[in-house]
């Protein structure tokens, strides 16, 4: 989410959460190889929060100042109370967004969302070809997505398409954008895969080459020049190919608050990978205390926690040292510089990852799709060798 001031004055720094992401369920009919959900999500599919608790969460977050609400998952439409949640969100004054694969979106449900005051729907698309759509999601959902896009347009919603970009679809970016244009999209997010959760363990199968990314960016810019303001295209740069890390989540505990299916309150989607952290849970804790006072939310606020080279870096305000989860996953130290940074002593880890992804032997290893079965296997330690290759041991 872009948080901007209007260029006239006012501060952009906020200690209030502006964005609440409700990861309302980890159940999902799709099995995307690039999913950023935790690989151990199967542990959290049995203890989902009930409707009453979600209503409480919406009220508490709104009191704290949250404005933008993302209803996400998994596939949120697998729950039958989204209508109630949408209505409550609207009454509270949220700008609400349903983030969906489209599976389970019927005429009846979309009409109820419209009536309840849902502001927009973000639909995931995967490719222009049925073959790749079905391959990467491990489902037959190609035709359905087009049908859902038409339903969204028909109800007068802004059409927001999210396309995760990886090796299998990156050479189709031009055609994907043309498809989005034909569907009447208002916003398209070309989200180059970030490597967390399932995408991390499939990194060798998903990561494109630098040349492919450069070409995709060129094609995107040409498309932007042609369509102008009619369609907003975001191109999320893949950080492995950058020289500086991303300002992850716009700062730890600065703007975003995530409440997971089982009620954990997190400063970012994958924070639970970090060691020795106790996250608040809405079943026991108020969001106000979670946001302002919990050790977890204060752990990486500001720059006191930083080590060298970040601590004295003149650029530290630009990226706040990058992503804590990526730093931990790839270097074993959550307080170290994100290894994406060329000033990091661990930059070689990123360079090796880029090389590995071009290694035909590693490329040929099977994809581990995001399925309940695979999540159970991971929880049982059966994929320890595969995971070990992508997770630094502290």
């Amino acid at each position: 989410m872009a948080v901007q001031n209007n260029g006239v004055s006012s501060s952009t720094t906020s200690t209030q959460p502006l964005w609440l992401l409700a990861e309302i369920t980890y159940r999902c009919p799709l099995h995307c190889a690039f999913c950023y959900n935790p690989t151990d999500y199967d542990k959290h599919t049995q203890n989902e929060l009930d409707t009453k608790t979600w209503i409480k969460v919406l009220n508490q977050a709104r009191d704290l100042g949250a404005l933008q609400l993302g209803i996400s998952g998994g596939e949120p439409l697998l729950r039958d109370d989204i209508e109630i949640i949408v209505e409550e969100a609207h009454q509270l004054g949220y700008y609400s967004n349903l983030i969906t694969s489209g599976v389970g979106l019927t005429d009846k449900r979309i009409d109820a969302f419209k009536k309840g005051g849902l502001d927009h729907i973000q639909l995931s698309m995967h490719d222009i070809t049925e073959e790749i759509n079905n391959f990467i999601t491990n489902t037959k959902t190609f035709e359905l997505k087009k049908k859902v896009a038409a339903m969204i347009k028909d109800r007068g919603y802004p059409m927001v398409l999210n396309v995760v970009i990886h090796r299998y679809n990156i050479d189709h970016v031009k055609e994907i954008l043309e498809m989005a244009e034909a569907l009447g999209a208002d916003y398209v997010e070309l989200a180059n895969t970030q490597y967390y959760g399932w995408s991390l363990i499939n990194r060798n199968q998903l990561m494109p080459t630098k040349e492919q990314i450069d070409h995709a960016e060129l094609v995107t810019n040409q498309f932007r020049d042609r369509v102008g303001n009619k369609m907003k295209v975001f191109f999320v740069v893949p950080d492995y190919f950058a020289e500086r890390p991303k300002k992850c989540m716009n700062g730890w505990g600065e703007v975003f608050m995530i409440v997971t299916a089982n009620g954990d309150v997190l400063p970012c989607h994958s924070a639970r990978v970090l060691p020795n952290m106790v996250f608040p849970n809405v079943k026991d804790d108020e969001l106000k205390g979670a946001w302002y006072d919990s050790p977890a939310f204060n752990k990486f606020r500001g720059d006191e926690w930083m080590k060298e080279p970040c601590r004295t870096c003149p650029e530290k305000e630009n990226d706040l040292g990058g992503c804590r989860c990526q730093a931990f996953l790839l270097t074993g130290d959550a307080a170290s510089a994100d290894p994406v940074c060329t000033l990091s002593p661990n930059r070689h880890v990123i360079e090796q990852a880029v090389l590995d992804a071009q290694n035909p032997v590693l490329q040929a290893q099977p994809i581990i799709f995001r399925t309940d079965k695979n999540s159970k296997k991971i929880n049982n330690g059966e994929e320890k060798d595969r995971l070990g290759k992508f997770h630094a041991v502290p």
């Binding site: 006239v8 100042g65 933008q68 927009h120 975001f234």
Partner: protein
């Protein structure tokens, strides 16, 4: 396409303008983003309703903030900025 005094604006489709108590400011909300407005921009956009002429808005603001030099120029510049950002659109 600079703003003219006989233009009429409305808040752009898919955008929502509202007062936020917690932030103590007006905001514009839209898919994937939001903008916190400073006090003067908020006061101006509050008057944007798809019916009121820019000239009328200028008069109202002038009365509200008497003696501010070049206020008309600032208001027109603010409208140009908001139009460029697609927060507002012309109705006439």
């Amino acid at each position: 396409m600079a703003t003219q005094v006989n233009d009429i604006y409305k808040i752009a489709a898919h955008h929502r303008f509202q007062w936020e108590k917690a932030q103590d400011c007006f905001v514009i909300l839209f898919p994937e983003g939001m903008v916190k407005l400073n006090a003067s921009s908020g006061e101006i956009l509050k008057l944007v309703d798809g019916l009121t002429l820019v000239s009328t808005i200028i008069e109202i603001i002038k009365k509200k903030f008497p003696g501010v030099p070049e206020i008309e120029k600032d208001i027109l510049a603010m409208f140009d900025f908001a139009l460029e950002k697609a927060w507002i659109q012309k109705t006439n």
